[in-house]
Symmetry: C2
Subunit: 560 residues, 2 copies
């Protein structure tokens, strides 16, 4: 933690709600110094096999318990205050960010339906976590109908609505548990729900409403469209709609109850909700157009502001003010990055060199192209640009001389090529990408960072905070508290970035152009219909596994 | 070793000259019982970096010392006789098989030029081992000219002469060391040279002359063709030509000197030379048409007799009497099989499951297709059907759930698919393949064998000898000694095979048809011009490695 607490200083608290835990961070308003932080793990974590009451869940489900989110307020915030050693009375605001689309049904006062006793054993009454993937058939129908009717909003989402988002999840609730659907007076992002818990006021933020809720130009999809999906779905927007707030706005003030939970003063500003990736842009001083923020962890999320509206095939979405007011915020993503490297270390690296550190060191000692390999980074499917989670990984070029560090490096490079595909799609559509700011856990790998600079031919800036989302939320809290007139100014004062830490080397960049050309050809062949082998292998796999479950005595290979 | 030495029994000795050692086997004529064996390692092994005198060799060279071959006669044969406990006087013949094309220049009396003192420091005076690959440019020119002139013999070799064979190696000698070329009165396969050493008589066997020497219908390539390659090459055939013997023929009788080396009686029959793969057919009771022998080790060699002549695109060659007199002998091969599995265990299996036994056991417990993977088995290039050693390996279908045993199994399967490609090429050209006999070290892997039966939809027979080539050579010795009228009859009496040990399972075979269809599509895409990415990656790799050698200070990735 930086800085020294001084008399008269004011503070804000940022709370980052992640997939497995929530983190609170206490930040000084004047310079963004991070003074204290604490993490609280969710008691129920990700609920994917059975409800706490024992009800078994189908495959691809992922739920959460909203009480775990309140526990973060009760435990992590006081602990962070204590660690910071600041007087809570000097805290002027609180801001939060959340995973998204993480969404729950509530009644009119915000009570989650899973907390209504008679609904507690109903899976659809619980929070659907972002990675709940069981609504794919519903998303498929939404997409097919949107294209059939040429809905004006579909192009704003790269041509595809994700199964993770509000309308797919809502339609699944309606069709699989209509009683819960009808009981749900509100259907709300967890980001907005926790703000409601803090402030007692229901609001909706433009970020989740736009990226996850298909709100474009002030309109949700029409009742006509929704009724065509399912006659009972025409009222869905009435469950979503609410006072819409721009990012950095004050949603309300801290209630007495929330003050008791957190140890913060009643009445301080509560900022509008936000998304973990998007809020990081403020922490990284990257809210001006042309500076793309890549939050690189197990997966990567890319956000960049643009001055103009453009439709970019395969991106996740574009939202007016979705990253900061006054600009069009673009989002794209790679669904597998660090988790591919982790898979390799765990499942494919031999004894003695089975750590990221060893593999990276060995991989660094070779010129570009010397391993003779190219990989497609689709171990976890492809979010952008292909939007297909049935795609899978591929490596080409192995010989008997291929070493583990060669494959490891090819995997690092493959994710850089995936990022370049996204950048080029933006640029081709007219969205400038001049440089990159990298945030997230993977910034520690210097070889990886240099590869990204060389492959993308762009300077890499590195966020100077280890808690980008929580810092971003604190910056939004400062704006909501009136400490700064805008996110831009708050970001300048409180955000932190190391500029141009990695610059592209012309020789290596040239060498990578040749490998990238191979990546691109393979990308299009396997991802755009040249050979749908990956989709067929997935279907064969699923059928084989299902038949093995059905008749386990036939599954084993009876060898002589 | 089987059987009991009885009074009046007669014996033969088979000697198998491999890449690193030679093995002698003493066999009873009546029933093929293997009574004693011994191995002698070559003192100089494979000479690939420098001559024993210190002269450095260029990349891709592989030489041997002919004195090492004589040492096998001096050490392994007496040791095998001793182990067998038979009276040497009861031995009636000796036969040998050799790696091929392994070839050397000699003077008129058979003295290797590397044993001529003033030539001992000249690399081209030494034996060129089969895997000497430095004559690829010469092979390329031979192939280009053969197609340009529509030479009638080129179709007998699947359309391509290998860089490993006599004409490519001979042309390299001429062009790189003309003095050695002109001093070489004979240019002879090691198989025929060791027979010359044993019998004092120079002969040529139809097997190496046909498969490695482009002898077809009694004719070598014309002087006109050779002169067009290089004006000095027109006389090459005069160095190759010699008394041509069918397999099983008596090349001569054992000289006094060879009797002294081996401890065998002077004057016993010495059989015509043979090749390790082809001679195994006799040991496997697989000389009738339609029964394909696959000798599966680090690589696989396939030999099968056919009643008719057919040209099979991508095979290694077809030779009249090349496996046994009276049939057309076909040869094909896979350049990487067991060595791919070995690569995986060494370089890609994590601690705890890094043995063939563990991986096989884990891989067996899954239904066909459950791993969701397909691989191309080209880690060591592709010998048949694509005849391109710049091709490389590929795997498609990986997810975060992919386990090491999944990839291991996909690699096993990929080599089975490669074998099926070869079988189908034979069948489509009219060469029947009714069942398979498997020989070699990989017969121990029951899962692998069952996969081959299921993938090829053919019963698998397994050779019942662990020393297939040496047993095959002993059978040829028995024929040369007049103990049997033909190889067929000797093979019936002395060869051994377990019939139909593995039979295809209809359900698994059907499931494999779907995966094989994917393999075939990928095979053609990457191997037949759909996307030459493998060839470009190889070129990029070679250029990167060369530049790193030239300027090592630039090779390292300078990470920040």
């Amino acid at each position: 933690m930086n800085g020294v607490d001084g008399a008269g200083d004011r503070y804000v608290v940022g709370v980052d709600f992640g997939t497995l835990s929530g983190r609170a961070l206490v930040v000084r308003v004047g310079d963004g110094a991070e003074l204290g932080t604490a993490v609280h793990e969710y008691g129920d974590g990700v609920i994917s096999s059975a409800l706490p009451g024992g009800q078994v869940l189908p495959p691809d489900w992922a739920l959460q318990n909203p009480e775990d989110y309140r526990d973060v307020l009760r435990h992590a915030v006081p602990a962070a205050l204590s660690a910071a050693g600041v007087d809570p009375a000097a805290v002027v605001g609180i801001g939060i960010d959340f995973t998204a689309c993480t969404v729950l049904p509530t009644d009119a006062d915000g009570t989650p339906l899973c907390e209504v006793p008679e609904l507690r054993d109903r899976p659809h009454a619980w929070v659907k976590l972002w990675k709940h993937h069981a609504a794919q058939p519903h998303a498929d129908r939404i997409n097919a109908l949107a294209h059939e009717r040429a809905e004006p909003w579909i192009g704003r989402y790269g041509g595809k609505i994700s199964a993770e988002w509000q309308f797919a999840k809502g339609l699944q609730v309606l069709e699989e548990d209509p009683e819960v659907y009808h009981r749900a007076e509100r259907f709300i992002e967890a980001a907005d729900w926790i703000v409601w818990q803090l402030s007692g006021t229901e609001t909706r933020n433009v970020c989740t409403a736009g990226y996850k809720g298909i709100l474009q130009d002030g309109q949700y999809p029409s009742a006509d469209f929704l009724t065509a999906l399912n006659p009972g779905f025409g009222d869905f927007v009435t469950k979503l709609d609410g006072p819409l707030l721009p990012l950095g706005a004050r949603a309300g003030t801290l209630t007495a109850q929330a003050a008791a939970w957190t140890g913060l003063p009643e009445g301080i500003a509560v900022a509008a909700g936000n998304v973990d990736a998007h809020v990081t842009a403020a922490a990284a001083q990257a809210v001006e157009p042309g500076r793309l923020v890549a939050i690189m962890g197990t997966s990567t999320c890319h956000v960049v502001n643009g001055a103009e509206l453009a439709e970019v095939a395969g991106m996740c979405g574009v939202v007016d003010g979705g990253i900061s007011p006054g600009a069009w915020g673009y989002e794209a993503g790679q669904s597998g990055v660090g988790d591919i490297f982790g898979w390799f270390v765990k499942h494919a690296a031999p004894a003695g060199i089975d750590s990221h550190e060893q593999l990276t060191e060995l991989a660094a000692s070779q010129p570009v192209g010397a391993h003779g390999l190219v990989a497609l980074d689709w171990w976890s499917g492809n979010r952008s640009l292909l939007v297909n989670h049935d795609l899978s990984g591929m490596i080409v070029g192995m010989t008997l001389a291929t070493r583990p560090q060669d494959i490891y490096r090819a995997l690092l490079e493959s994710t850089a090529f995936g990022t370049r595909m996204i950048i080029e799609a933006f640029v081709e559509a007219g969205v400038a990408v001049n440089d990159l700011v990298i945030a997230g856990g993977l910034t520690n790998n210097k070889l990886l960072m240099q590869i990204y600079a060389d492959v993308t031919r762009r300077p890499l800036n590195i966020i100077a905070s280890a808690q980008g989302p929580a810092l971003g939320s604190a910056i939004h809290a400062a704006v909501a508290a009136g400490e700064f007139p805008s996110i831009h100014e708050a970001s300048q004062a409180m955000g932190r970035v190391h500029e141009a830490v990695y610059r592209p080397d012309p020789d290596r960049a040239r060498a990578y152009d040749a490998l990238y050309a191979e990546y691109r050809a393979l990308h299009d062949h396997f991802g755009r219909g040249g050979n749908d082998v990956m989709l067929r292998l997935r279907a064969i796999r699923n059928a084989a596994v299902e038949s093995a479950v059905a008749t386990p005595e036939l599954a084993l290979e009876p060898v002589a």
